[in-house]
């Protein structure tokens, strides 16, 4: 019996000894010993990260509201396919344009050697001021469609593929349904607009990345193929930086601290809205080519942990708001007049209002 107790005691002691050997109670290291190391796996590679130091956090989920102040919309006469006028000139004073904007970007694959995100977005634009007196010739048919809310609903994807510790490829693609449809009567998917960009880039330091590429875009309202240039940079003191994806957007960043950032810059926004709801207008195959430049100041700050707010205010400059007719269902590629100078079905002129936009964002690790 005494023997058993002895064996038991020794076993407990031995177990305790084993545990204490695997404990580390934080003895101070000679940090210089970690200067000279090798990967245990000989084939291990280093890859560059999609982010740089100091960059504003990426949004996982956002919900916001955008309001443009009063402006006037002046429309030329609308012509049919034969060039005959089907609707007269008109002018409308818009009291405001406003709407909900929400979306998400969820990582599907997020590893060192590949990052793949999928996203969804929904933007709504409501027009206020449509109750004004009718002009002598009656309301212009295109202007009249602004009684309906315009909507953009789409899916997007982003793939970041590091080639090594300095170079990377970035692919962005999206498919959007833009038009005056309602959520209970959504347009057929054949009206989807596809856009995308491919960028090859370098990340020479932890605080700088740049890239060049090509984009298929509707940013100026109609289809274009344009070169793009990316330049993200943070200064040594982490106070100043740039976040540029030209020509889509560019901003100078002032970092008050990593949870408070102020931006000054511009964004190019645009969609090609199909006029779908009015069945009498549907055979005309009309799309409004909307492109606008937003000069803006933006303040982004963390409310708590990963919950951020973005508040921006600025001036919306109309770039284009013309109605275009699809030729046999196909879009006209004008490329700023280099490829085609085909006339629009109706040209419009918009004055420029101030705008504000606010959103609440859940940001990514």
């Amino acid at each position: 019996m005494r023997k058993l107790h002895l064996i038991f005691g020794l076993t407990v002691l031995a177990a305790g000894q084993l545990r204490s050997q695997s404990d580390s109670t934080g003895t101070e290291d000679d940090f210089s010993m970690y200067n000279d190391v090798d990967f245990v796996d000989e084939g291990a590679k280093r890859y560059c990260s999609p982010k740089i130091e100091g960059l504003s956090p990426a949004q996982l989920i956002y919900i916001g509201y955008d309001v443009q102040g009063p402006y006037s919309m002046k429309a030329d006469p609308l012509t049919n396919r034969d060039g005959n006028q089907i609707s007269g000139a008109d002018e409308m004073e818009m009291a405001a344009t406003h709407g909900l904007r929400l979306g998400c970007n969820i990582p599907v694959i997020s590893t060192t050697s590949l990052v793949w995100q999928m996203g969804f977005n929904y933007w709504q634009t409501n027009f206020e001021g449509m109750e004004q007196a009718l002009p002598v010739g009656g309301r212009n048919k295109v202007i009249d469609q602004h009684r309906n809310a315009f909507r953009t609903m789409g899916l997007n994807t982003t793939v970041f593929k590091p080639l090594n510790d300095k170079q990377f490829l970035l692919f962005q693609g999206s498919s959007d349904l833009n038009g005056d449809y309602t959520l209970s009567n959504i347009m057929p998917l054949r009206y989807l607009k596809y856009s995308g960009a491919v960028i090859w880039g370098k990340r020479p330091t932890e605080k700088k990345q740049w890239g060049v590429g090509l984009a298929r875009t509707y940013r100026v309202g109609e289809l274009n193929y344009i070169p793009v240039f990316m330049y993200n940079w943070t200064d040594a003191a982490n106070k100043w930086g740039t976040e540029i994806l030209f020509p889509a957007r560019a901003a100078v960043r002032r970092t008050i601290n990593p949870r408070n950032m102020v931006f000054a810059g511009f964004e190019l926004q645009g969609q090609s809205y199909r006029l779908y709801k009015d069945e009498t207008l549907r055979p005309e195959d009309l799309e409004i080519r909307r492109g606008e430049i937003r000069l803006r100041m933006e303040y982004q700050f963390s409310v708590k942990d990963f919950l951020w707010v973005s508040a921006q205010a600025g001036y919306r400059i109309n770039y284009r708001y013309h109605s275009d007719r699809l030729d046999g269902g196909k879009e006209t590629l004008r490329a700023f007049g280099l490829v085609s100078d085909a006339p629009y079905a109706m040209e419009s002129t918009l004055t420029n209002p101030f705008y504000v936009s606010i959103s609440v964002n859940l940001v990514s690790p």
Binding site: M1, L4, I7, F8, T11, V12, A15, L18, R19, S22, D23, S24, T25, G26, E28, D29, F31, M33, Y34, N35, D36, V37, D38, F39, V40, D41, A44, R46, Y47, C48, S49, E53, P57, L60, I106, P107, S110, T111, T112, S113, V115, D165, E206, A236, A237, N238, N257, P258, R259, D305, F306, L362, S364, P365
Partner: protein, 159 residues
């Protein structure tokens, strides 16, 4: 009869302890020095009690360029901790070995923005870790791949 019962009890205890020690040994595969994919830091994983912790033991850029001083945890939301040196900082905390190749229930701290994320570690092979930091649910997160390092022996200096 009493002797047999005691021997049986002792055997059960011994078996349990063997399993406990074996589980601990399995969990200890996490110990060592690891490098995140960006190569910006090296992290030594240690064990304190039954939990695993990691601390920064090397920085690619140890000095703050603007001040010339060693980097500190200047982005910590707790102002009283902003002078703590980053070298030696515990950025992985409270990981519990869950069996198999998983260490869970821990957190990872990002000194670049002062945020702490929930974190799961998966050992994909003995020299590779998937470190997944996330917000609330694992789907809202990002995985980084860390590789095991070996320290080269120091060359003997001639006296």
């Amino acid at each position: 009869m009493k002797k047999i019962s005691l021997i049986a009890l002792f055997s059960v205890l011994l078996l349990s302890m063997t399993a406990f020690v074996s589980q601990n040994t399995d969990g200890d595969r996490l110990l060592g020095v690891w490098e995140p994919s960006n190569g910006r830091a090296r992290v030594k994983v240690e064990k304190i009690g039954d939990k695993y912790f990691g601390r920064i033991v090397w920085l690619k850029e140890p000095v703050e360029p603007a001040t010339g001083e060693n980097k500190t945890d200047k982005n910590n939301p707790d102002a009283s901790l902003r002078n703590v040196p980053l070298k030696g900082y515990r950025n992985l905390k409270d990981f519990v070995y869950k069996g198999g190749d998983i260490w869970d229930e821990g957190t990872i701290y990002d000194p670049l923005n002062g945020n702490t994320y929930s974190c799961t570690i998966k050992m994909t092979d003995k020299n590779t870790l998937d470190i997944r930091g996330y917000i609330g649910v694992s789907a809202l997160g990002r995985t980084d791949i860390w590789k095991r390092l070996e320290i080269k022996p120091k060359k003997a200096t001639k006296k």
